[in-house]
Symmetry: C2
Subunit: 410 residues, 2 copies
């Protein structure tokens, strides 16, 4: 399949470059002929794009294909030594930094805890910078050129301007995050949010590969949907598409921090799940007030060991989540719905099974049959991986226009 | 803007042909140079595509542009005599047939009433055929070649197979409608549903022109959303995207004929609005049991003459509709939301004003600011116009591969 976007011939060139690289990553080492067959692009176009990527130093020639007669075909592969990519997942309670080689294989990571009161922009920026320095300073990544860093922050983001437009949990408005980070970090910086990062990770490396219409649900403290239509990320008019957590499921229901009532997030976000538990059994030993992670962990253990209260909480969560997923299926008719982020990872199959049963009762038969509901199969943190992939896409769009940065820290 | 779709070079060619024609329709008569500037395509590509459309007989050369020195530039225009297009809107209570010239100017129409018991496929097919014959038989359209007919039927449609997969109001399952129609109609037939037809009409001729991300809400007996993302119709994995009427707004709310509860349609479809009236004033003279049209008409007159019950019904409808629209804004971040179909047309501004106020209270600030909510400005029946436009798109995709049909009836 060819990745083509509406736009100028330059946009098409960048999209094709990205599609060619995606194909090489998946099949490496691979001949130009196989890439052409797999992408639907002409051999001339593929050879041209691969030439650019060889010049940019992120591909390498790796010998020739066995051939039964005829000219031997040269094979190319992503050059792991071509540079490193950084993915930063900034969440409410932590900053996770991961360093990858150009083939998106993880090399090193660092994690910084964010305490609830550490929510001023300068404090968060200091943790990001410190995490990046720690991860880059390790032996595996030293002295390699840095192709770029993707930074995922919660909330609504102006990518072009590098601004956190609105982060509800911290009450940030129009924080010029990229500018603040650029005072300490000199590699190209790409700002976006976890919904975009997670769906890009699934498109390149997960359940979205080879699929056209995909919804990735981030289930954490907040919840939201990353959307991909016709094989590429859908951002909406102003990069704020996917606020599924703030769609109304229960008119006049639970109050939400967004100011609304009955939002999906208030029933299936971690605090909403804690509220189900509190309503079912206020004295439950699984309830760790003020500690979402500990409570979700206890519930996950409980449901696996047959605790009836834990099972009821999962059932109640699935009842809301399943109806909200059925809404997405009826509205968007996607091929795949992927449950991602830490709540989905911790609850796993027991939640998935109940959700599938609820969805089957609420979605229309025809789009339901087309939709595959799965847990994310990505190992590690999909948001860091996706943020690094967004940085790779940024690097690809700049190929031929700007030199890569070799000295990344100052 | 260039209209490019993911796919083969043939798909791109068809999409570009469609974009060139859309541009010529809007600016007719127009030079190749202006089309190239307006679409972003090269002059060579535009000249080539216009050559094909001239050969296909739907464009015509119409002289030269005044030019201050230099070579005079040839002007082209859509040839109204190039053929006719038929748009058929099959609804629960009527079959509306409209005949257009190749520039989508209406030439003739016919309407057949459908009685509630006339819901067997052969009965509906007979009304479509009879309507098409009446409309084509009028003097204005006689003896012109028929480029194609678009047929919009409610429910879920398999376009490729020409099958009505599921029409809930008639309980149709897998009805081979195109095959049944082809026994009497020999022009190329394009089957789709009113959600697709309405959004295509807005993209070509209405509020969607020049916009990327557009949602058209069909408010009638049933309700649904036509979706356009990145400037073109979004169908979903199996052409059933847009079933917004069957998304849950009130968990465990009013029962819906789809089997669910609390669906948007049960609150803002015409029967749902009648129920608001019945709950507010069961003895209201505006209530015409069993006659949706008469009741909606009476409410529309009532609200304009200051009737307090009518105002309350509109307010109650807007309360649900506004929250359901806020959900779409938060999820899809569109540039425009267009209220279409007969309930929207009859209630008009009074409903729009109340809906805007509700949306402003429920949508997130950032996507709300990017979203324009309007009534459809299309004169006449947008679904017939859109169905005819789908037939034009079908004709365009076949240019160069198949001869047009000159004898349309047998």
């Amino acid at each position: 399949m060819v990745q083509i976007v509406r736009g100028t011939s330059r946009d098409i060139r960048v999209a094709n470059r990205s599609e060619v690289l995606r194909h090489i990553l998946a099949e490496s080492p691979v001949s130009r002929q196989r890439v052409a067959a797999g992408t639907g692009l002409s051999l001339a176009t593929v050879s041209n794009l691969i030439g650019e990527l060889l010049d940019a130093g992120i591909l390498v020639e790796v010998g020739f294909e066995d051939s039964s007669g005829g000219r031997p075909r040269g094979l190319v592969s992503v050059d792991p030594a071509g540079g490193v990519l950084i993915g930063v997942d900034v969440a409410e309670t932590y900053v996770h930094v991961e360093v990858f080689d150009a083939a998106l294989t993880p090399l090193a990571s660092a994690e910084e805890q964010l305490h609830p009161e550490e929510n001023r922009p300068q404090q968060v920026v200091a943790h990001i910078v410190s995490g990046v320095r720690t991860a880059l300073g390790s032996g595996a990544t030293a002295a390699r050129r840095v192709l770029g860093a993707g930074i995922s922050v919660p909330g609504q983001v102006d990518r072009g301007g590098g601004v956190s437009v609105f982060a509800p949990n911290w009450n940030w408005h129009d924080v010029p995050l990229r500018g603040l980070l650029a005072e300490s970090l000199t590699m190209p910086l790409y700002l976006d949010n976890p919904l975009r990062a997670a769906v890009v990770a699934e498109l390149w490396f997960g359940a979205g590969r080879g699929r056209e219409d995909v919804v990735v649900l981030n289930l954490g403290t907040g919840v939201g949907a990353g959307l991909a239509f016709r094989g590429s990320l859908y951002r909406g008019a102003t990069n704020s598409a996917g606020e599924w957590g703030h769609t109304t499921l229960v008119l006049d229901g639970r109050p939400c921090h967004c100011g609304g009532r009955g939002c999906v997030e208030t029933y299936v976000g971690a605090p909403g799940i804690m509220q189900h538990l509190r309503e079912l059994d206020p004295d439950s030993p699984m309830l760790h007030l003020g500690d979402q992670t500990a409570t979700i962990d206890a519930l996950a253990r409980g449901v696996r060991s047959g605790d009836p209260v834990a099972a009821k909480v999962i059932g109640e969560t699935a009842r809301y989540l399943g109806v909200a997923i059925a809404n997405l299926i009826n509205l968007a008719n996607p091929e795949a719905i992927v449950l991602s982020s830490w709540v989905a990872a911790r609850f796993g199959e027991p939640l998935l099974d109940e959700v599938r049963a609820v969805v089957a009762r609420h979605a229309l038969r025809h789009p339901l049959a087309a939709s595959d509901i799965t847990l994310s199969g990505i190992i590690g943190d999909p948001v860091s991986l996706g943020a690094a992939t967004l940085a790779l896409e940024g690097f690809l769009s700049a190929v031929g226009t700007a030199p890569a940065v070799r000295i990344a820290l100052r």
